[in-house]
């Protein structure tokens, strides 16, 4: 499963939704808003997305990773809107009969989400606001 939400992420609920009786391990990854980026203070982040395409791209990643790690059950949820320091922006659960596949599947999902899913973030700090990744990289 892969979806976007405007609400706080309940990671433990996500874990319960993924776990099967046959699973001996789960890996939970949460990406969290931190108070600094590139040496600058960060107070909050606004997440924007091309919603229908972002959900499609997240679903593609889940499908591909499920095929690559067939014993593993995975779910990813990404939060949008304004988040403050300490809030989770993304949560990924990978559950598997054994730990190795769960670790690998979880890591693979977050790496791919960062590459292809059309989600953007605007960081706000005492010095102003900036879209991350735009300046000089386009």
């Amino acid at each position: 499963m892969a979806y976007l939400t405007d609400d706080p992420i309940d990671a433990q609920e996500l874990v319960r939704s993924v776990m099967r009786a046959s699973d001996g391990a789960y890996v939970l990854f949460e990406g969290v808003v931190r108070n600094h980026h590139d040496g600058k203070a960060v107070e909050s982040i606004f997440y924007d997305a091309y919603r229908p395409m972002a959900e499609k791209e997240m679903a593609k990643i889940v499908d591909t990773v499920s095929a690559e790690f067939p014993t593993t059950a995975v779910t990813v949820v990404h939060r949008l809107g304004r988040l403050v320091v300490g809030d989770s922006s993304i949560a990924i659960v990978a559950a598997s009969p054994h730990r190795a596949e769960a670790f690998a599947a979880c890591r693979t999902i977050i790496d791919r989400v960062k590459q292809t899913v059309p989600i953007w973030k605007k960081e706000r700090g005492p010095d102003g606001e900036e879209w991350v990744g735009w300046q000089g990289r386009c």
Binding site: M53, P118, I119, K122, W131, W134, C138
Partner: protein, 84 residues
């Protein structure tokens, strides 16, 4: 030359620069996504330095900038993504 209609979506930094989330474009048949980007650069000084378009999506799927648009397409320029 016959005209076609394309819906152009803006997100993130591009929505800030253009001041809108969506534009309805009437384009000549054969227009490519890259040509639409060129038009945006001409219209918005903040984009002048970006000769190459960002990644593009047509109908919610990544596509080549040289892709020829079709009537009814939904086009989006995708700035560098920063999810996670």
């Amino acid at each position: 030359m016959a005209a076609m209609k394309v819906r152009l979506l803006f997100f993130a930094v591009l929505r800030d620069i253009t001041g809108t989330g969506v534009q309805e474009l009437a384009l000549a048949d054969g227009t490519t996504a890259a040509e639409v980007w060129q038009g945006l650069r001409d219209a918005h000084a903040q984009l002048a330095g970006y000769a190459q378009p960002p990644m593009i999506a047509i109908n919610e799927t990544y596509a080549d900038p040289g892709a020829v648009l079709r009537d009814g397409d939904e086009l989006a320029f995708i700035p560098p993504v920063a999810g996670g």
